[in-house]
């Protein structure tokens, strides 16, 4: 294996954790490990790592290929909000079929991951507050909350005093808020660190700073290529996030509808023993996410800028202004970090999961802003698909085929 660059991790497989793993989901028989498919995964972000962990745990030989450092793309840039509720917008109801069950999987997923990795992922369940700072905001929030309640999302309306009771540092100008008890958060950076540990402990091999292309032969994926080296595999999983479309070796007509959607963010530093806020707070122009270590994340822009990763004055100004209007006291805090990441946006903001139309090539990409939230359901679903050949029902509406169906109203524009 002398051609691998430095930094590749090869850990000998360890016995899969048999604690409470598998509770509440189909039991995977790991006694015939040799008959398990050999799986190559392109992309070691949260999605690729979690799929690799689950498959390695089930006895597959798993190799993960990452163009950069594992977990340092969108998974690192994210805020880790598990907000199936308050982020639901009109027009995106179909996504609830995936986000809600994944949200429900999260507490057990976090426990299993902690057990498998020995690392805590910083799961916090205080819930989310969406605050209105003006009458216009309040009208808009009532309208949105009514829609979200209609989708079956549990929400409580609070007046200004009620909102400040929960978060005393909110501006006295807050006129109302929605409290969403089920929208929790996880520390996404701890998450990927734990996933790397769990996947490698379960026997997955991780190759970082390694560009892998899909190896196609006779119309099916037969492995990956790294430079002139071929790595055979029974199944190749494409989990390359915003870079999925540009992975080499994909046929031109596959044309995955995935693009990078830039998000800029920053973090301030609070006193962890006296944090300014404890809930995730959505203000009209920015959201604020408090971490246990005292970091206060503020995000995020949504920009169509390709892979331009610059932090810009206007974006940082806008985020700080938006956050300051909700929590004025944060003006005293030190700036810890600024960064930008690239959400893998699909055309309808929902992920692209399952068959690619090419034998042996499985898709797990396009998670947009929901990658962390959808990690458990994606990992479990793709594992089951790889092991059984049957795509779980919950993933079926999210296949690539939905983009190739003719649109019923398409003729109108050309009338």
């Amino acid at each position: 294996m002398g051609c691998w660059p430095d930094g590749l991790a090869e850990i000998k497989p360890t016995e899969p954790d048999t604690g409470n793993a598998g509770e509440g989901r189909p039991v995977i028989d790991t006694t015939h490990a040799s008959s398990r498919p050999r799986v190559a995964i392109i992309g070691a972000g949260a999605i690729g790592l979690a799929i690799g962990w689950r498959l390695a745990e089930a006895g597959c030989a798993v190799e993960l290929f990452e163009r950069g450092a594992a977990g340092r793309g969108a998974s690192w840039a994210a805020a880790g909000m598990l907000a199936a509720g308050v982020e639901t917008e009109p027009g995106e109801q179909p996504l609830l079929a995936l986000t809600r069950p994944s949200q429900a999987l999260w507490p057990v997923f976090a426990q299993e991951l902690a057990a498998a990795s020995g690392l805590d992922v910083g799961y916090r369940d205080e819930g989310t507050l969406v605050v209105a700072l003006t009458r216009d905001d309040a009208e808009q929030l009532r309208n949105l909350a009514q829609f979200q309640r209609g989708c079956g999302i549990e929400l409580t309306w609070l007046d200004g005093a009620g909102a400040r009771e929960r978060e005393p540092y909110l501006t006295p100008r807050v006129v109302g808020a929605v409290f969403s008890p089920r929208d929790h958060q996880v520390d996404n950076r701890r998450l990927v660190t734990a996933l790397i540990a769990a996947a490698t402990a379960a026997g997955a091999r991780l190759y970082e700073h390694t560009n892998a292309s899909v190896d196609l032969a006779g119309g099916r994926a037969v492995g990956v290529r790294c430079g002139d080296r071929r790595v055979p595999a029974d199944i190749v999983v494409l989990a390359a996030g915003a870079w999925s479309r540009s992975v080499d070796g994909l046929p031109a007509d596959l044309a995955l509808p995935v693009r990078p959607i830039k998000g800029q963010m920053l973090a301030l530093r609070m006193d962890p023993t006296a944090p300014l806020i404890r809930h995730v707070v959505w203000a009209p122009k920015a959201y604020l996410v408090p971490r246990r270590d005292g970091r206060l994340l503020i995000g995020a822009t949504v920009e169509e800028r390709g892979f331009d990763g610059a932090n810009t004055a206007g974006a940082i100004y806008g985020l700080l202004d938006g956050a300051w209007r909700a929590v004025p006291a944060l003006e005293e805090l030190a700036i810890d970090e600024m960064w930008a990441g690239f959400r893998p946006g699909s055309r309808d903001d929902a992920p692209i999961l399952g068959p690619s139309g090419i034998d042996g090539l499985v898709l797990a990409t396009g998670h947009h802003r929901n990658g962390i939230l959808l990690t458990p359901i994606t990992a479990d679903g793709i594992r089951d698909y790889v092991l059984t050949g049957a795509l779980p029902e919950v993933l079926q509406p999210f296949g690539l085929a939905r983009f190739t169906r003719p649109r019923p109203v398409a003729a109108a524009a050309h009338a």
């Binding site: 009109p90 995106e92 169509e304 946006g345 309808d348 903001d349 109203v409 398409a410 109108a412 524009a413």
Partner: protein, 264 residues
Amino acid sequence: MPQDSLTKIDDHLVIAGQTLRSRLFMGTAGYPNQQVLLDALDASGAEIVTASIRRLNLAGDAETLIDLLGDRYRFLPNTAGCATVKDAILTAELGREALETDWVKLELIGDRETLYPDVEQLLQAAAALVAQKFVVLPYCNDDPVTCRKLADLGCAAVMPLGALIGSGGGIRNPATIELIAARSPVPVILDAGIGTASDAALAMELGCAGVLLNTAVAKALSPVRMAAAMRDAVAAGHGARHAGRIPKRDYAEPSSPQLGLIGA
């Protein structure tokens, strides 16, 4: 496509010598996602779509707005977010180069809270862009004098606001819009303020040549249905305007004859 003869529009909007088959212009911002945007634009029947040059990825990448819409719609690049003449001209030039169109929707915003046009800057920028052979469609106040000056400068159309951008406030000054439309030597496109279909129909009944809208569709509970409603409203309002409405009366006028009743 068969059309109901009652709603058929047999005249066409012409701007800068170009014949357009739809009088509805659609913005492309703020949709839940690209698929909803594509479906809503389809349902709207619009031919021209506008997008902020500053918001567009012009690098020729896949899955950008230009990639998805470029071969199906005419792009009207706009200068949203520009606050100075210099800014607006540079942005317009960038749009011309990247999108290969001389058309530009000129926006010069004077105030971030209200997004009201800055008339002084707007007139200067319009003159400069007309001199550079742009086809200029300025977003402007609902002010007959400003609209007239913009037309006299050589703008291809004028786009007065109905209400504040994104407010859904409807048409705040219908009498002024009607006055502008009656006197304008160039087409008047009502821009901004549309909240629902009746607003769009009213704009057309007041004599506007077209309607440009965005938020009312993008943020509707069902953007695709609202887009179809807007298409119908624009057609209905235009049809009603040219059908000639009846005068308003203070007292009732029975629609059935009152003489010759049975048993009289």
